[in-house]
């Protein structure tokens, strides 16, 4: 019986957490309830939050379905596919930047900035707004029950900078990230629950903007990733783009090049292409329409599925190449794969299913909704992380090798790709000059031989080394990749035990100070928004009071003494002056003084109403 008591106690103290799939096209929350993961959706809604943002004229930002709907009317002020910009620099996103309807720049640390309605926004801030919307949706579905703990999914092939950007987005949204988890592994968790099997599984995840393939072995409830491969710039968006390209070649004959290249028009084309692509998955041909009322343009073109497949083939082949590489890394042949699971909206495309089946010689699993399976898996992991079960364990890998730039620009690998995480490596450094107290090193991620071909994670500056003759210092620098797949670096001088300080200059990422700054700014903004609406309400209220007072004075001046009238007229003058005010507190004060000055008038009016009522007159005749 003691055992049962303990279980009850544990349940009572247990925290809860929401699993969130922060997708390129749609985002979704899920949670563990009554023994299984469920998608969180309020009554009458499906819970999907389109990852779209619309910027209104009066400075508001609308997120989700409404934003996506407004894209058709106002494409210039609507943004999609923010995920493709997370943790990236301008040079990485040239292809995507073309279909962004606004000005796009880069901060000093290489963080992308979208300029909308005169303000700059980083992808982190915009993703934070999407996370907030999903969180709000989830909390409404839970009947107002609040939990700020979340598990957020990212593509397995996301590098450190992209993961950091995702975590920073959650911090900006005020959420507590228990774990960043890989999308294909999350999907395997959702699938693996129903089949208590042993075996090797391939998860093929083609989403809106990213592609991953992960190979896992499942044994006694342990989901162990053997290898992963992918492309963080290959997804449904790219398949839309091949249709957009075809449309543009056609349209170039009818409309001007400047209209064609216009960001808003590009956005319309993309939306039309997406719709056409989706239709082609269920019918052998579909139409792509573009209507532009201001120029009278009404363009339509029929695409057959065969035409689309010819255009899409090179992209689909890239996904199969990634599967080959993943198999080679796991030292497996396709015959060793017991099950294949399809994840992501783009796996609805018949050609993708055909190609995957032909490659693995297995009919892929599609029982779970490919748009929901990642969020469901994140909910399973959230359940594990909050102490719900020890029966399930996920052991994931780091997708890319970690290395240090050596003299001459080569890369010395210190952690190899597909190492099980958490993992760490310690590298020894020494000084090359007498009394040298600092060392700089450049950490990169990627498989290429030269540092300049890999992705810079950061430049680290080691300082505080005790002064010693050259070559005497023994500095051990520890690189640790945690269970989120994110790097931390620490250093120690071994002969003296002094721990050296490490400063990081992140590349394509926000520093802690910047995140703090944004948090403060968003607080200040929220404050300003609040003040602004209070100001507007006050002005309306004062206007009503003024009109009532003017009418009262006209009718009842005779009943008031001169002093009261003078007071009233003075306070009306001062409140009129104060209406030009932008300081909400000053205006509030003027309103309060005005209200006090109107009290005698109000009393007279009340009195008169009462008298008239007594003489048989109706109230509305007063």
């Amino acid at each position: 019986m003691a055992f049962i008591e303990l279980t009850v106690l544990n349940n009572a103290a247990r925290q809860t957490a929401i699993g969130i799939d922060l997708g390129t096209t749609n985002s979704l929350g899920a949670m563990w309830k009554d023994g299984r993961p469920i998608v969180l959706h309020p009554e009458g809604e499906n819970g999907y939050v389109p990852s779209a943002l619309h910027f209104t004229e009066d400075g508001r930002i609308i997120v989700g379905r409404e934003a996506r709907d407004r894209a058709l009317i106002d494409p210039e002020h609507t943004l999609f596919s923010i995920k493709r910009f997370m943790g990236r620099g301008l040079k990485d996103v040239a292809g995507d930047a073309a279909s962004v309807p606004c000005k796009i720049g880069e901060s000093a640390n290489g963080v992308i900035e979208f300029e909308m309605r005169g303000r700059k926004y980083t992808p982190q801030e915009l993703s934070a707004l999407i996370l907030l919307k999903v969180h709000d949706m989830a909390c409404r579905a839970l009947g107002g029950q609040e939990t700020i703990n979340v598990v957020i999914t990212v593509p397995a092939y996301f590098d450190d900078a992209q993961r950091q950007a995702t975590r920073d987005a959650a911090r900006l949204a005020g959420l507590e990230v228990l774990r960043i988890i890989n999308e294909p592994t999350a999907a395997s968790l959702a699938y693996g629950l129903d089949r208590k099997k042993q075996g090797t599984v391939a998860v093929f995840d083609l989403g809106g903007g990213t592609f991953d393939v992960s190979l896992l072995s499942i044994e006694d409830g342990v989901f162990r990733v053997l290898s992963t491969n992918g492309d963080t710039h290959l997804g449904g968006d790219d398949l839309d783009r091949v249709l957009v390209q075809a449309a543009m070649e056609d349209l170039a004959r009818t409309i001007s090049a400047s209209t064609l290249r216009d960001g808003g028009f590009q956005q319309l084309l993309r939306l039309a292409a997406e719709k056409c692509k989706i239709e082609l998955s269920s019918s052998p041909e579909a139409q792509m329409h573009v209507i532009l009322p201001e120029t009278g343009l009404h363009w339509r073109r029929r695409f057959t599925r065969d035409e689309f497949e010819v255009l899409a083939e090179p992209l689909i082949e890239r996904t199969i190449d990634a599967c080959r590489k993943a198999l080679a890394d796991a030292k497996l042949e396709t015959s060793a794969i017991d099950e294949v699971v399809l994840v992501g909206g783009a796996t609805r495309i018949p050609m993708v299913r055909r190609r995957v089946e032909a490659f693995f010689h297995r009919k892929p699993h599609t029982e779970l909704n490919p748009d929901e399976v990642v969020a469901l898996g994140a909910a399973v992991q959230a359940h594990v992380l909050t102490g719900g079960t020890r029966d399930i364990l996920l052991m994931d890998v780091t997708p890319l090798s970690l290395g240090l730039e050596t003299l001459g620009g080569a890369v010395a690998k210190i952690i190899l790709r597909n190492s099980t995480i958490p993992c760490s490596a310690t590298e020894g450094f020494t000084t090359y000059a007498d009394h040298q107290t600092g060392i700089d090193f450049h950490v990169v991620q990627g498989e290429r031989e030269l540092a300049r071909d890999c992705r810079t994670l950061g430049r680290f500056k080691l300082s505080g080394i005790p002064p010693m003759p050259a070559g005497m210092a023994r500095i051990a620098v520890k690189f640790h990749i945690d269970a989120n797949g994110m790097l931390t670096v620490s250093a120690k001088e071994e002969s003296t035990g002094v721990s050296a300080r490490i400063e990081v200059t992140p590349m394509n990422g926000l520093s802690d100070a910047e995140v703090e700054g944004m948090l403060k700014a968003s607080y200040d903004n929220a404050r300003a928004d609040f003040d602004e609406s209070r100001l507007a309400n006050l002005k309306v209220e004062i206007g009503t009071m003024m009109r009532a007072t003017e009418r009262g004075l006209r009718d009842y001046r005779f009943a008031l003494d001169k002093e009261t009238v003078r007071d009233l007229e003075d306070s009306m003058k001062s409140v009129r002056g104060a209406s030009e005010q932008v300081d909400v507190n000053a205006l509030q004060k003027a309103r309060d003084i005005f209200e006090r000055a109107t009290l005698p008038l109000a009393a007279v009016m009340m009195d008169s109403v009462a008298k008239k009522a007594l003489t048989g007159k109706r109230l509305d005749e007063v």
Binding site: Q381, T386, R390, P422
Partner: protein, 212 residues
Amino acid sequence: MNVCPRCQAKLETPLACSACGALVAEATGAAQNPFALFGLELGFALDKQALRRRLLRFSRLMHPDFFATAGAEPLALAESASAALNAAHELLADDAARADWLVRELGGPDEKSERAMPQEFLMEVLDWNETLESARSAPAGSAERTAIRQLCAQLEERRRELFETIARELDPLPAIGSPKLALLRKQLNAARYLDKTIAEIGALRVSQTLSQ
């Protein structure tokens, strides 16, 4: 073997207690010995399935997933314990890395102080290099390219033989400082050459498939 500082049960791994679930903070010193982390005696022979089962079982004790809401200190401990366990598993599961560790541990030369390969390998290496060189520059689909497929099978066979020899030399373990260790180092150098060449052929073949 040590006992758990919390419940006094005998520890299977110095990183955590399988009886009470405690993470053992003082384990960092033992992180140097991968065999000890898995509760194994030193030796080259190893049951890989049993090793994997231990990895899964020990991971259930110390994986950070089970300490996500336990506070910063236990979580950091779980991170470092899991990292040590994973590193030890990777080393033990790899024949070459395991043999290399044993040769070092027994005071044998490292690959910098003994760079040579066994005498009998040298002629073969010259042959292999020649086949590989002509395949590298040959066009896809040529006879030279098909030859590397055979070469790969040959190298893998040679590697298997080599590790059978290494396994015999390491069982029983040579005494500390034994002259056998220098020979073992030479054999491991040959294994490294084989692995590098097999990997290169693999990459060549993958790039061939990808370009088709």
